[in-house]
């Protein structure tokens, strides 16, 4: 129970913080014309992908880099909670990050979140919970 609590808390907290860091870091990226790299398909080529990342300033953006590190913490917590609890418990709890993200986006980033969006987020969380509930029969 303790391991599960540690794992799921780590997964949820790191997911929310990681999303916020990437959001903040993305505001400071350079505008790069993707056409000069052969369009989006050109990015499948690592020889074009890395110059694109360098030009957009990803390697010097500490918020984005920290965001990736924090999201790897989310992955570790997710794996730990998956080891200690069934998928049917873990995934709906992870869907709660959509609600936490929306609440914190309103409080911290002062985003305008309409009531229709709250309804939409609630419907998605209900759908994810029922999807896992249905899948749980075959997972067990």
């Amino acid at each position: 129970m303790t391991l599960f609590a540690i794992g799921i808390s780590m997964a949820i907290v790191c997911s929310v913080i990681g999303d916020f860091l990437i959001k903040q870091g993305s505001q400071e990226l350079n505008e790069v014309d993707i056409k000069s790299f052969g369009g989006i398909w050109g990015l499948l080529n690592p020889l074009k992908l890395f110059p694109f990342m360098r030009q957009s300033g990803i390697f010097h953006n500490w918020k984005l880099i920290l965001g990736i590190v924090v999201l790897s913490g989310h992955f570790g917590g997710y794996l730990l909670s998956m080891r200690t609890a069934p998928v049917v418990t873990v995934v709906p709890l992870m869907a709660s990050t959509y609600i936490i993200d929306a609440i914190l986006a309103k409080i911290i980033l002062h985003e305008r979140v309409t009531w229709q969006r709250w309804v939409g987020v609630g419907v998605v969380v209900a759908g994810v919970s029922s999807l896992v509930g249905v899948s749980g029969i075959s997972i067990k």
Binding site: D19, F20, I22, K23, G25, S26, Q27, E28, L29, I40, L43, L44, P46, L49, F52, M53, S56, I58, L64, I68, A95, T97, Y98, D101, A102, A105, K106, L109, H110, E111, R112, V113, T114, Q116, R117, V119, G120, V121, G122, V123, V124, V125, A126, G127, V128, S130, L131, G133, V134, S135
Partner: protein, 162 residues
């Protein structure tokens, strides 16, 4: 209270005017709707495709075997020699870059739930097509509920004509 809110709004002025506009209105600026939708589609497709390729490259005899903790580095090297896994890693990098780009244009409260929900749907469809996994009627029902949620959130994100 209102004064405090206005002050913190000024503190949050970013270097990205379109991102600032999206934050204040809670919507995607109309002039950036097309690139936003393309980026979001790439995020969802690359994320789902990476999941399917990870599953494929780690199942059956393809997955490297680990017998002791000392074998982990060898297993990692062996895993990296699987071409499908290499493509999955490139797709994950692309997913990360386009996710950052999508967040640059749109509000966090819109992008995160839509990305998550659409990825659940796309992964189920790809697993059905490429991995031949069976999808029950009940699961399709749940997917429809998620789709309804995405549509509701999507409607709240459309910018109005000025």
């Amino acid at each position: 209270m209102v004064k405090k809110s206005n002050q913190s709004e000024n503190d949050n002025q970013s270097e990205n005017p379109l991102g600032e506009k999206a934050r204040k209105t809670g919507r995607i600026p109309r002039e950036r709707l097309k690139p936003f939708l393309i980026s979001l589609a790439i995020v969802v497709i690359s994320s789902s495709a990476a999941d399917i390729l990870l599953k494929y490259s780690m199942s059956g005899n393809r997955a490297p075997k680990v017998h002791s903790p000392w074998g982990i580095p060898y297993a990692v090297v062996e895993a990296l020699s699987i071409p499908w896994l290499d493509i999955a890693i490139v797709l994950m990098i692309i997913q990360f870059i386009t996710f950052a780009h999508t967040l640059r244009i749109g509000p966090l409260s819109l992008v995160v739930p839509v990305r998550g929900a659409a990825t659940y749907i796309a992964t189920t469809l790809l697993a059905m097509i490429f991995l031949h996994e069976k999808v029950s009627l009940e699961r399709w029902g749940s997917i429809l509920i998620i789709l309804l949620g995405v549509v509701i959130i999507g409607f709240t994100g459309q910018g109005k004509k000025s």
